[in-house]
Symmetry: none
Subunit: 204 residues, 4 copies
């Protein structure tokens, strides 16, 4: 049975499959038309079944949206994690992270676009709790750990050390957004180069 909250392992094969189908189709459509233009009717139609199915597997549009967001966030995290593991130990961790992050954006442009748009939307719905702040706080925490592992923040004032993390994250996201709006004019590799040099040569 569908819309109940249950762990992955409790789901039947078909349930997992259908959910994935719906989510994947929804992602495609949101990428193409934008979140508000992506109606559940269009998702159902594109996926080839009736509207009812969506409600069989998800409580409502909001739940579907949240799950899409979580999944994409997971994909991004998994991607960076996996990429970083492939690097040699003692290597430049931050470099690996930057490369992994931008690699994700390059390979999953629409997914990154959706993350940006859903971030805005979820934020509006949650007014106070500020959803995306949570996502960002998480992001920055990981980034701080990585930079510390490389000793990139040693000897910095707390204030500056914090800001450095924010700025590195900003470079990645800001670059991602420019890439979204105009991929042909943005040379991701060259930018990555600049970002890495900047971080490397940074002196407070």
């Amino acid at each position: 049975m569908g819309a109940q909250k249950k762990s992955q392992s409790e789901m039947t094969f078909i349930e997992k499959h259908r959910r994935k189908q719906i989510i994947d189709t929804a992602i495609e459509i949101i990428a193409r038309d934008g979140y508000h233009q992506a109606t559940l009717a269009s998702v159902a139609k594109e996926a080839g079944f009736s509207k009812g199915v969506i409600f069989y597997y998800f409580k409502n549009k909001d739940e579907l949206t949240e799950q899409i967001n979580e999944i994409l966030l997971d994909e991004l995290r998994d991607h960076t994690r996996k990429c970083m593991k492939e690097e040699a130990p003692q290597a430049d961790n931050l470099k690996a992270y930057v490369e992994a992050y931008l690699d994700f954006i390059r390979k999953n442009r629409e997914k990154f676009a959706i993350l940006v748009e859903l971030g805005i939307n979820l934020n509006q719905k949650m007014q106070d709790q500020l959803f995306s702040s949570l996502v960002y706080i998480d992001c920055r925490k990981s980034l701080a750990v990585i930079m510390d592992r490389d000793g990139k923040r040693d000897n910095l004032e707390k204030k500056t050390a914090d800001a450095l993390v924010v700025v590195v994250q900003a470079m990645l996201d800001g670059l991602g957004i420019q890439y979204l709006s105009d991929p042909k004019n943005i040379d991701l590799d060259a930018c990555q180069q600049v970002i890495l040099s900047m971080i490397a040569s940074y002196q407070p």
Copy 2:
């Protein structure tokens, strides 16, 4: 009568006033509720007149949206331009720009938020023409001029020089977005410091 395209100068005083009223109210509401939650009914009600007026002065919601976007973009441009003029000549132009840009974000958080959201929306509507690419191309052009004035891109390969501009813009926007989602945790001044140091110490 209103909705015909006409130059600023052809508009009567009252016409200009009404348009401003509508646009200002719309901005407030979009800032508060988000673009899709901001209905024309709510704009009219808040502004204190009937829904009809909006259609008298704007062809439809899309036209209103576009004008809001243009106006906010103008405000951002005007703000940086004005700030930079106040700086002494021969001064560090890029520094002035960065400060001005972040100053705008700090003082006009909601307006910056709207620019981000409308950017996404307008892009979706214009599919191919890629609206925000135009905005960004413009932005980067100005930034390039400024950096060149300071000699920041001398001796750089074309590819790197272009990327440098992209990355500087990215730092500003990326920082802005983090600031939007969580102003209390972002120390704009410290970040500005880091950004300026980074640019200053940058070595390709």
Copy 3:
């Protein structure tokens, strides 16, 4: 403008008229098909305009429902009040009330039916506050006043005096419901006769 709460006097003529139109049509349809079968679409169609109008004048179906209920309750109260005023002073007030109440039921069978059905529905929605208890408490209060004016409860124990009011109200409503389900087999006049005799000859 429609759905805002406003006093009768603030409404324009057309607004009052439309609301009345909608409410009257809804009453007809609920009487004919029952509350849950009475869709807003059917109300709009029957009344001869689009669905949108209903939402222009009423926030949602619940608000419409509540207003219908209030109006019918008012009609019932007004009817009894008016009938009783026409009686001579010092007359038998309770008799006048019974006659008036049953007269309302006779003349407004469907309206009484709706009151019963909406009572059940509103009660279910308000779970704890128990809507119809409020209505009944009111009813019984008026009835108590009337009976006291006639001295019908003098010398009775408090417990019995209270119960007497409940029972009189019960006779009227219980009779109404039987009349609803089978008007041809119920001789309202004869029943009224019996009720009045019963009350008159009652001895604790």
Copy 4:
């Protein structure tokens, strides 16, 4: 195979058991949420099996509804019959009936509530055949027999004799409904006392 009409005796044990399970669960849910809020999905879930089963044992929701109604009606009849048998012969039969009826309401508040709600609903569905009229006709017939056994209607005009039955039934149902909507404010015992005195002291 379930849904075919078959006499009680033709049903297997498990079949009877399942039907009872479904009906009992449905009664619980209708009592809690109201008839229209009681979806078959919720019944199935609460009872711990799949929606399909309901359709295996009942043709559709209407049939289930009707059977619930019949069962509750039977329970009410059985209760009064049983109560009355326990009374001594030659005793006051009407008194026993009133006590039994009110005892049922007291002990089965939700069931009585369902009887009232389903009565309304079934009536709406059967438009002309007027379902609940049938129920009431039956009720009144039994009541008439009981009153006659006590000689309560001797010497009355036919018209009055009929009305008396209606009014007694009305007192019971009307009291039940007030008790439903506000049990804490209704003293069933005191009311029963009043009803019995009223009937006893009644003089046409």
